[in-house]
């Protein structure tokens, strides 16, 4: 089968990660093994695609091209279909994310209670817009459409831990603590 050439100059959007270092290799092999196991458990059925993508995102942090190709081959799906599904859902990311993630809930209850101010403060502090990672690669700023914690609005999720009734100052303090880390 002819190999793909993702680094074609005519498509600058497509970049293959430079992960060919030898020590990464061993780790990535193990991660591909988990993908194999997930696919096998689902008998390589087409409808397992979303579950496998979840698994891939969990073990690789994001969906790099190599992984998408691997999944497409495994489930015998067209590449465009895999790409279409991976980009349809918000939770799948095709770009590497920062060391920490900060998700601001923008559901109605949080919105009414001023979550947009929290978000503004964060955007200013991190110098990036929602959906992106700060320039130093430390913090990814994301938004969610309701995490179901409306009783304690406004809510922000720091690395998977929900914090409720939060003020912009408090959020900034947490972010600054992350930024101070090495």
């Amino acid at each position: 089968m002819p190999t793909l050439n993702p680094q074609s100059p005519s498509h600058p959007d497509l970049k293959s990660p430079q992960s060919s270092k030898a020590k990464d290799q061993a780790l990535s092999d193990r991660r591909f093994k988990t993908l194999d196991m997930t696919m096998k458990r689902n008998q390589f059925k087409h409808d397992a695609l979303i579950e496998v993508l979840h698994k891939a995102q969990e073990s690789f942090g994001y969906l790099e091209e190599e992984v998408l190709i691997y999944i497409a081959r495994g489930l015998k799906l067209p590449l465009s279909r895999v790409y279409g599904v991976a980009t349809f859902y918000h939770l799948f990311s095709l770009k590497p994310s920062g060391a920490h993630t900060c998700i601001v809930c923008l559901g109605t209850a949080c919105y009414v209670k001023g979550s947009s101010k929290v978000l503004q403060a964060l955007e200013q502090e991190l110098g990036t817009s929602v959906g992106n990672t700060s320039a130093d690669g430390k913090v990814s700023l994301l938004s969610a459409r309701c995490i179901g914690a409306c009783g304690i609005a406004p809510a922000v999720v720091f690395d998977g831990v929900v914090a409720g009734k939060i003020e912009p100052e408090e959020t900034l303090k947490r972010i600054q603590a992350w930024e101070a880390e090495d």
Partner: protein
């Protein structure tokens, strides 16, 4: 497992339980307020006070009063099985809200005659007293991670009753007679849906539970799944038996990790006891349930999109008919109901349709869970009988707006509308809410006060719909973009009279021509605010560029 075994498990569990239960909420809301630490401290205190033979700390699901978590309730375990014990109980119900980890020790101390500084809540407050709990009966009272507790309060008895004392037709007839309507928003009669799937020729059929609760401001399904997962599993199994399906899927949002984890545990436990899987109750009937995890797409709450997603594809809705009941998952007849709908099944089968039909109004039976949030004193989840007025919910139960007055109540999320304060006396029922330009929706109820700009609210929802549109049909994909831009012009005070007309006509067009429910209802927040708060739009119109001459033009 047969009925005798089931009763054995229940009795053993009742015997095992200690006389007093200290229930500590471990749902998402209270967890964020450090309830797990509170629970640890409670357990340590029981040990320290030497109460281990009398008192048991139980991590329970959501008690509903999420605005003031963590919540702790002391309850005699006997009242779980027989309400009449409440009057003769050794201690009255104690309820604490906003418990700090440091206060946990003194709560246990108070049981031994000490004093506690923890804030005592009032269970007689209308917020609790006005509720009618059918689906949430055991939410916040039993440990969702132990099937034994569910069995002890009568769990899986309804499934047994359906399997051995009723024919599938009788189950469908019972649901039809109860008058239950879909709790996902549309309000389609559940019995009719079941009957359609049941009447399809025998063969592979599926049951799907829609737990893709995407409405911002709503968390009823999350709470039910986190607090009483077996209730949903039992409801689905009964549905499977009634319509002739032997495979079910629960589709849950990935944003609800705790609900997923508890469901997985619940399914495992039910399988172990032979209540799910093959040969349920040693009969010849099999029913298995798989979990499917969403990946962040509001549109997947639409049933045909959800089916696409379960099949592993993009969540694009397709035109109906054919309805999923005729041709759904992998073109097989499929029954799709919402989490709350399935939550009603077990109580109906257990207590009978007449009991259920006695609750609510003539056309809307039973209860509805609402997530009461926004600018309101008492935040949280409430389950109320249909027919209660919005005023009773907002003012009595919710305690009104802290320092201010209610301006509007938004129900139904991005598909619903804003109800002005003048219409607060409207009863909560499917038809009455549609009449005033909103809808029941899945149960989000966001209260807004005088400081909220209604145009901003409409703008917020339109931005949501613009981002969540799947992009398949033109009116929704391109129409929501234009509507959002138009509303932005209003907020920037750049809109003209012509823009207002454009806004109205485009809303109509998107509403009537879109492919699925998301597109059809996307203009609702704009239409309802246009209807009740027209002056706010007019106030934002651009000032005329050309000054009108103050003098009369001479001829």
């Amino acid at each position: 497992m047969d009925l005798a075994n089931l009763i054995d498990v229940a009795t053993a569990e009742q015997m095992r339980q200690k006389p007093l239960r200290v229930n500590c909420c471990t749902s998402t809301g209270c967890r964020a307020a450090r309830s797990l630490e509170v629970m640890q401290n409670l357990e340590a205190a029981v040990e320290a006070e030497g109460l281990t033979d009398r008192v048991e700390v139980v991590g329970v699901g959501c008690m509903g009063f999420c605005g003031l978590g963590p919540l702790v309730q002391v309850e005699p375990s006997a009242t779980l099985y027989d309400e009449s014990h409440r009057s003769t109980a050794l201690v009255e119900d104690l309820f604490y809200e906003g418990v700090k980890p440091a206060e946990a020790t003194s709560i246990i101390g108070a049981l031994n005659g000490g004093v506690t500084t923890a804030l005592k809540g009032d269970l007689q407050h209308p917020f609790f007293a006005r509720q009618k709990k059918v689906v949430r009966e055991y939410s916040g009272r039993i440990d969702p991670e132990r099937i034994e507790e569910y069995i002890a309060v009568g769990g899986y008895r309804a499934l047994y009753k359906a399997l051995f004392e009723m024919t599938p037709e009788e189950v469908v007839a019972e649901i039809t007679k109860s008058g239950l309507r879909g709790r996902g928003g549309g309000g389609y009669p559940t019995g009719l849906k079941w009957a359609t799937v049941a009447k399809m020729p025998a063969g592979q059929k599926y049951v799907i539970c829609n737990g893709d609760e995407g409405d911002p401001g709503a968390f009823m399904d999350r709470s039910v799944l986190e607090s009483d997962p077996h209730l949903i599993l039992e409801g689905m199994a009964i549905a499977g038996y009634a319509v002739g399906a032997n495979h079910g899927f629960i589709y849950v949002r990935a944003e609800y990790p705790l609900a997923i984890q508890r469901l997985q545990k619940a399914i495992q436990q039910a399988k172990k006891y032979g209540l799910l899987g093959t040969q349920i109750f040693d009969s010849h009937w099999d029913f298995k349930i798989d979990i499917r995890i969403g990946a962040g797409a509001f549109v997947c709450g639409e049933e045909t999109a959800l089916i696409q997603s379960v099949e592993g594809g993009r969540g694009n809705p397709r035109p109906r008919p054919p309805y999923p009941a005729q041709s759904g998952l992998w073109q097989c007849p499929t029954l799709i109901n919402n989490v709350e709908t399935f939550g009603n099944i077990t109580p109906i089968v257990r207590n009978g349709s007449d009991w259920y039909a006695g609750i609510g109004t003539e056309k809307s039976k039973g209860t509805k869970i609402f997530a009461l949030t926004g600018k309101i004193r008492n935040n949280g989840l409430i389950e109320v009988p249909m027919g209660i007025t919005l005023r009773e919910i907002v003012e009595e139960m919710g305690g009104g707006v802290p320092d201010g007055t209610v301006k509007a109540v938004q129900t139904g999320g991005p598909s619903g509308g804003c109800i002005p304060a003048t219409l607060l006396d409207t009863p909560v029922a499917y038809d009455s809410l549609v009449e005033i330009g909103s809808m029941m929706g899945s149960g989000g109820m966001v209260v807004m006060d005088e400081s909220t700009s209604m145009v901003e609210v409409a703008h917020f929802y339109m931005e949501f719909c613009r981002e969540e549109s799947c992009g398949k049909c033109i009116p929704c994909r391109a129409g929501t973009v234009q509507l959002h831009e138009l509303l932005t012009r209003f907020l920037k005070k750049q809109a003209t009279k012509a823009d207002l007309e454009k806004l109205e006509s485009l809303c109509q067009m998107v509403k009537e021509t879109s492919l699925c429910g998301l597109g059809m209802s996307a203009p609702n927040p704009v239409l309802s605010t246009l209807r009740y708060f027209h002056e706010e739009y007019e106030a934002l119109l651009q000032a005329p560029i050309y000054a009108v001459p103050a003098y009369a033009v001479p001829d």
